[in-house]
């Protein structure tokens, strides 16, 4: 072949590009914190079983996750798939940032958790892992945690003594007072989530119960920054109980001597007197979402389907301790290996979603601020609740305006 023809031929081949059969697609996945590290180990298998799809994973630190995700949305630089805390779903959905999903099966998932991903009739995320809050307590002092509030309060009185508290509930954390409110069935907001509803009886009862723990000296009035190491404090007998989530099972186990492991365990939340047990708790966790602007929706769906499969959820648990959102996965023997996770299983059947509005995180922080002010004696309970209503009304003013004008 002449040189000219060879050149022309090679140019032509280059110009035509690769044969159309392969459509190699690279999708971007953003995962947060520990999950960001761990999910990398699940991806090679996905790429093997889905030839032509490559996943580029990026890990975002937890402290910057919310900012980075919102900035990416504003800057038109969102990934295809991301892990999103389920309390953020309402916010991103209201921005029309998320693609509605239509999964085949929802029956296997815990209903309370599934709910957090739904807005109206549309589903925006698939739960990836769950968390909720249960009571961690010293079983060598309380063989069985009471299942209703009054006996629980009694038990706390019994285990408290000078230099030693019954319950650790850092005053700047909103989870504990909010969980107590959920247990009472307090709606917290009213009129389609347009106004605060903190002065009504149920929230009042929950708030009063929470404040009384500090007033009666059962819980120390400290913020989480003032506690050097809460795990060490537990090991040093400085408190007997706390309300926290699944990640702390690993933490309390790892950071304390092995012999201590037998001295504590977990139990679902006690319910208010007369209510069915266990009490309600937070429907927390993270979901997998697809961004509306993704150019590779099919590949993104394939990735989510893969990561939601029972086998992968089990692997995620094994690697990170994150609890599976599918009931069937909990039947596996691996899940029973650690008895301390069983309380979570029982609790997950009784979880309630927080109001699904973008402003919810700000509202929860405001609740914590007023709770702290009351604990420290700056406000009476009544004054605090009135101020809380006032502040939350202010936070929701824009939402009301938007709804009035049909946005």
């Amino acid at each position: 072949m002449s040189r000219g023809a060879a050149l022309a031929l090679s140019l032509a081949l280059v110009a035509c590009g690769r044969p159309a059969a392969t459509r190699d697609v690279t999708i971007r996945l953003w995962a947060i914190g520990r999950e960001g590290e761990v999910v990398r180990q699940l991806l090679p298998e996905f790429e093997r079983t889905h030839p032509g799809i490559h996943v580029r994973e990026q890990q975002i630190p937890f402290t910057a996750a919310h900012e980075k995700l919102l900035t990416a949305y504003v800057g038109n630089a969102t990934p295809d798939v991301a892990q999103l805390g389920n309390s953020w779903i309402a916010e991103f959905a209201s921005l029309h940032a998320l693609e509605p999903l239509h999964p085949a099966d929802s029956a296997d998932y815990f209903p309370g958790i599934w709910e957090t991903n739904r807005l109206g009739d549309t589903l925006y995320g698939i739960p990836w892992y769950v968390d909720t809050r249960v009571v961690f307590y010293r079983r060598d002092e309380l063989p069985l945690l009471p299942t209703t509030w009054t006996p629980w309060h009694e038990a706390m009185r019994r285990v408290a003594r000078p230099g030693r508290y019954a319950l650790l509930a850092p005053v700047n954390e909103w989870a504990t007072p909010v969980v107590l409110a959920l247990e009472q069935g307090a709606p917290m907001l009213r009129d389609s989530d347009q106004y605060g509803n903190f002065e009504e009886p149920r929230f009042r009862r929950a708030f009063h119960f929470y404040i009384s723990l500090f007033r009666d000296g059962l819980a120390p009035a400290v913020s989480n920054v003032a506690i050097a190491n809460r795990y060490q404090s537990f090991g040093n007998d400085e408190y007997a109980m706390t309300v926290t989530g699944p990640w702390d099972v690993g933490e309390y186990t790892r950071r304390l001597p092995p012999a201590f492991a037998d001295r504590w365990t977990t139990a679902p939340m006690p319910a208010p007197d007369g209510d069915p047990t266990p009490g309600a708790s937070l429907a927390g966790g993270s979901s997998l979402v697809i961004f509306h602007r993704s150019a590779h929706q099919d590949a993104a769906r394939a990735l989510i389907e893969y990561l939601s499969a029972p086998a992968q959820q089990l692997k995620l648990y094994a690697l990170s301790g994150d609890l599976p959102p599918r009931r069937s996965v909990w039947q596996d023997s691996i899940m029973r290996a650690n008895p301390k996770t069983l309380a979570f299983r029982a609790q997950l059947d009784h979880v309630v979603a927080l109001p699904k509005i973008p402003e919810i995180e700000q509202i929860c922080i405001t609740i914590a601020n007023y709770a702290e002010a009351t604990v420290r004696g700056a406000l009476t309970e009544d004054a605090a609740l009135a101020a809380l209503d006032h502040d939350v009304d202010h936070i929701l003013e824009k939402r009301r305006w938007m709804m009035r004008h049909g946005h």
Binding site: Q59, I60, T63, A64, K68, T71, A72, V74, G75, A77
Partner: protein, 270 residues
């Protein structure tokens, strides 16, 4: 004389105090994992290991961040030298309507904190499709009011006769700029180049905002990201810090004479 001795002792103590954190950083970066936080305190790595550096380059791909920083800093420096020297020369050696009021207005801009316009700037970048790109980092920093000021002050000393003679000889303004002005401005341009390189290399907030893809992160952003995740791994963090600091320290040490001259000159005249 004892006064001289005391003086130098104090100066030396000051030097040790000043450099101590940096020297410690280097030492810690060479320690095996966990040694930096054990007591009694280790001042010397034992044994010396490059494992942290290896990890940064193999597992965390820090080389890419180094390249990103280099691309951004060098491009910004070269482009800003061109743009700001042109403007500084114009303000110094040309007469045009509104020259002095424009110059004063520009200087007033120095007092405005950079964060004031950051959010609208970000939204503007989105409209221009410059989010998450090198240009998104480089473009806003190319024109520097400080740089124009610095160069203008220096350019005032260019003799008018030199320029007029060239014009009479028929040289175009472009040729005059290239052949006469730039060479004369060289000392201040070196100063400004060092300043520009250092400030773009070290820039943190704007790259943090504009870059969302970790493959494009510059070193300070990558380092901050790292420290958010690997809080416990002090030795690794120190190695990352060394890598971030090294290039700019080298540039400074090599060109410190010019840079220091420029800083003092700028402040005395200003």
């Amino acid at each position: 004389m004892t006064r001289r001795f005391v003086l130098h002792a104090v100066l030396l103590a000051g030097a040790v105090l000043t450099l101590a954190p940096l020297l410690w950083m280097v030492a810690a970066s060479l320690m095996p994992s966990g040694q930096a936080t054990t007591y009694p305190l280790h001042l010397v790595p034992h044994p010396v290991t490059l494992a942290n550096y290896r990890y940064l380059f193999t597992h965390l791909d820090l080389a890419r961040n180094v390249v990103n920083s280099a691309i951004v800093a060098l491009s910004a420096t070269v482009l800003s030298l061109l743009i700001n020297s042109m403007a500084g020369y114009a303000f110094a050696k040309f007469r045009f309507r509104g020259r002095d009021s424009l110059f004063r207005l520009m200087l007033a801009g120095l007092i405005i904190p950079p964060q004031v316009g950051m959010l609208p700037l970000f939204v503007l970048m989105r409209q221009l499709h410059l989010v998450n790109s090198y240009w998104g980092v480089i473009v806003p920093s190319m024109a520097s009011i400080f740089g124009i000021f610095l160069i203008r002050q220096y350019a005032l000393s260019i003799p008018d006769e030199l320029l007029d003679a060239a014009r009479i000889d028929g040289a175009s303004e472009l040729t005059i700029y290239r052949r006469i002005v730039l060479p004369v401005l060289t000392p201040i341009l070196v100063t400004f180049a060092v300043f520009m390189f250092m400030s773009t290399w070290n820039d943190f907030l704007w790259p943090l905002i504009i870059l969302s893809d970790d493959a494009k992160y510059t070193l300070p952003v990558a380092l901050a990201n790292l420290s958010g995740e690997h809080v416990q791994d002090t030795e690794l963090m120190m190695a990352g810090s060394v890598i971030t600091l090294l290039p700019v320290l080298i540039v400074f040490v090599a060109l410190q004479r010019y840079y220091i001259e420029g800083v003092t000159a700028g402040s005395v005249k200003g």
